[in-house]
Symmetry: C2
Subunit: 416 residues, 2 copies
């Protein structure tokens, strides 16, 4: 079963926003066995929408459109869809009730005509009530194809996909089973991995595909399988994973569906009733932010300090002015003093500290842009390592953050 996603909005085509909607929809469709054939981003333009609908109908069985359902003049999706199906717009009572309820109880402002007009729906459509906004979704079955139109606001689109579209598609179609398994590898280029697993790749069953996705210092290997026989997919995938694992044994890697590195570290700390604290300079809060992005981390994470200015390292972490003067603010001595300072302050067993120059200018230091020193304080000793992560501020921060988690995990594994 194939789907096509059409995202409507000039804001995507001028690069003002990144289209995150289609990734969310693709993932949700894949989970129920629907493959996405194509994602097409088009202009807020009647002729262009009509052309895209026609092409999509030739490629796919399920066509999902987002955007252009709002109350303003640039929102033309609804009239264009009505036009595509030679249909007219009529007031949908459930949609109107939803809007009235929203304005009376949540927005608490007078309802205007443009809002009431949002209850106009194509007469041939089924309305998918948007419980978190005023733009309800549209569902049309026509010639054994399904057309769905959803609002472009991600929060509203997500609620409708999860609560309305996915359950209805599962009821409407008999769907195959799709499984993806992703292995994230670190520190080796894709050509080296390809060489190492070439025989495995050549012998993959025809219904399993292998893809390489390189990124910063990391390559994802994705195995994708699809078949009507769920049992066959699950069993064969597991067999292939069992063949692949030993081939990667000299490469640092983990599986995507395993808990992420932070939660793996957290599980180790939690099991031993140990706590973690973080002192950040050049990473500016990114390490702390990535930790707290996971719910439940208060079980092992005491908290973090960003001592961005040199004076804060003295004021907050009690680092002596002498150390900073003698060794410089970007130095192993300062990184270790930061790690030990924050460990003590937060009464923790482990601490991470970073000091460096994220760029583009050198800040309080004479060190080269990209230099980062990471220090890990453990219950019994402190280690540090110096890196140069290049000249791009964003990359320096990201790479330093990833490296810090890697170093911390290594030390914890030594001691737990």
């Amino acid at each position: 079963m194939l789907a096509e996603i059409i995202t409507i909005g000039d804001e995507i085509l001028i690069g003002q926003i990144v289209d995150t909607n289609s990734a969310f929809i693709s993932k949700a469709l894949n989970k129920i066995g629907v493959s996405v054939y194509q994602i097409t981003s088009i202009q807020d333009d009647k002729a262009h929408i009509l052309k895209a609908l026609k092409e999509a109908e030739q490629n796919a069985n399920i066509i999902i459109i987002t955007g252009g359902l709002g109350p303003t003049k640039d929102d033309i999706t609804k009239t264009t869809i009505a036009n595509y199906f030679n249909d007219t717009l009529v007031v949908d009572k459930a949609a109107l009730d939803n809007i009235t309820h929203l304005w009376q109880n949540v927005i608490k402002k007078p309802l205007q005509q443009v809002n009431i007009d949002q209850a106009l729906m194509p007469s041939k459509s089924e309305t998918l009530i948007n419980t978190v906004g005023s733009a309800s979704g549209i569902w049309i079955n026509n010639n054994n194809k399904t057309f769905v139109a959803l609002p472009g606001v991600p929060y509203e689109m997500k609620a409708l996909i999860t609560n309305a579209v996915i359950p209805k598609l599962e009821k409407t179609y008999q769907l195959p089973y799709i499984e993806h398994q992703t292995i994230i590898t670190y520190g080796v280029g894709e050509s080296v991995i390809a060489e190492q697993i070439s025989e495995f790749e050549n012998n993959l069953p025809h219904f399993i595909k292998l893809a390489y996705l390189p990124s910063l210092g990391s390559v994802r290997l994705r195995l994708s399988a699809k078949d009507t026989d769920k049992n066959k997919v699950v069993t064969t995938m597991q067999q292939q994973i069992n063949l692949l694992k030993p081939l990667l044994k000299n490469i640092d890697h983990h599986f995507d569906n395993e808990p992420n590195r932070i939660m793996q570290i957290g599980a180790l700390l939690k099991a031993n009733n140990l706590k973690l604290a973080v002192a950040e300079s050049c990473t500016g809060g990114e390490i702390s932010k990535q930790i707290t992005a996971n719910p439940g981390v208060s079980a092992f994470y005491n908290g973090g300090i960003t001592t961005y200015a040199t004076q804060s390292k003295i004021d907050v972490l009690g680092i002596s002015t002498d150390i900073i003067k003698t060794y410089g603010v970007v130095s192993t001595k300062v990184a270790e003093a930061m790690a030990n300072g924050v460990k003590k302050l937060y009464n923790s067993a482990y601490a991470i500290a970073t000091t460096g120059v994220a760029g583009p200018s050198k800040g309080d230091s004479n060190t080269d842009v990209g230099t980062v020193i990471i220090s890990i304080a453990t219950p019994n000793y402190t280690i540090s390592k110096q890196f140069n992560f290049g000249k791009n501020r964003f990359r320096v921060i990201q790479k330093a953050t990833y490296k810090a988690f890697e170093l911390l995990e290594k030390e914890i594994l030594k001691n737990c």
Copy 2:
């Protein structure tokens, strides 16, 4: 002049990654007067790539393809392009030199045949040397149309767009002038704004388009103008902005091309030689991270503390156990003690503190999920406000962060 962007890669169609490349390319093209007609994301599949190239050639003059130029088996873009133009692949000396240099001096590993094969290019193409990776770009002029193929790794694609593609397009085509102006408004729905500026919208010149882009508690209004006469675009746009500004005077707003709120706050603090510190609980480092995402903030930002666990608020910020016991950890008293604690610790004039429950569970508190108290400590007094930002962890953190900057700016403006 119209362009179409084709991004190749199953990882996009299964929702494993969000396609950020096309937003970057669209923005760069718009700046030089090229409009993007469509963005199409397609499978790593020969027939699909050929079909997309053919359709794109009918829609646009400039076709930019990303992805599938790597050394592994799933990378089929190059052979498919050669096929599309009835061409063969030949070794490109400059590309080979680049790869050899990279392996000898940067990667420092033995060069393998798959890497050498990356120097094979369509004979009719001009090679765009990739100085930061092994997959060089392809430039083909054919029937007054330009085809460009670039690697999918964002870092490599960006370098090629900026240093090779944009300058070459400017040399090849006579391009019109495009200007976008975006006004970001806060706290009012799009229908209210549309009502308020309806006459302005009706009277816009035909070459200026207005779009509404709603998101969390904010609506962006974008004016887009395009004409061969740059002077006409700039002058008319300024006139329209001058007409629009007074119509929005009762709505909190700022222009996108103005410095962002953090840098506006920073400029005020810097001018008065005042410093800022941050103590975060439920926002977990997000406020600090958003501040330090801007270069040069060490001029006014002393740093921040994340006291995630209740005990850390006691250990690090010196908040008394009594206050926490009496008022609860999510309370105005605790928020204010955090703000004053961090202000003192960092020897700053201003401080932000947050305490709340980001969810999904209630953590160390009995307060409702979504409750956040934000406190701002100023040189002479401390204020706090309580909010409920709903049940979605990500939204709670984002909304609290935005609100904290808004409250801080208000207090600084009162005092500076």
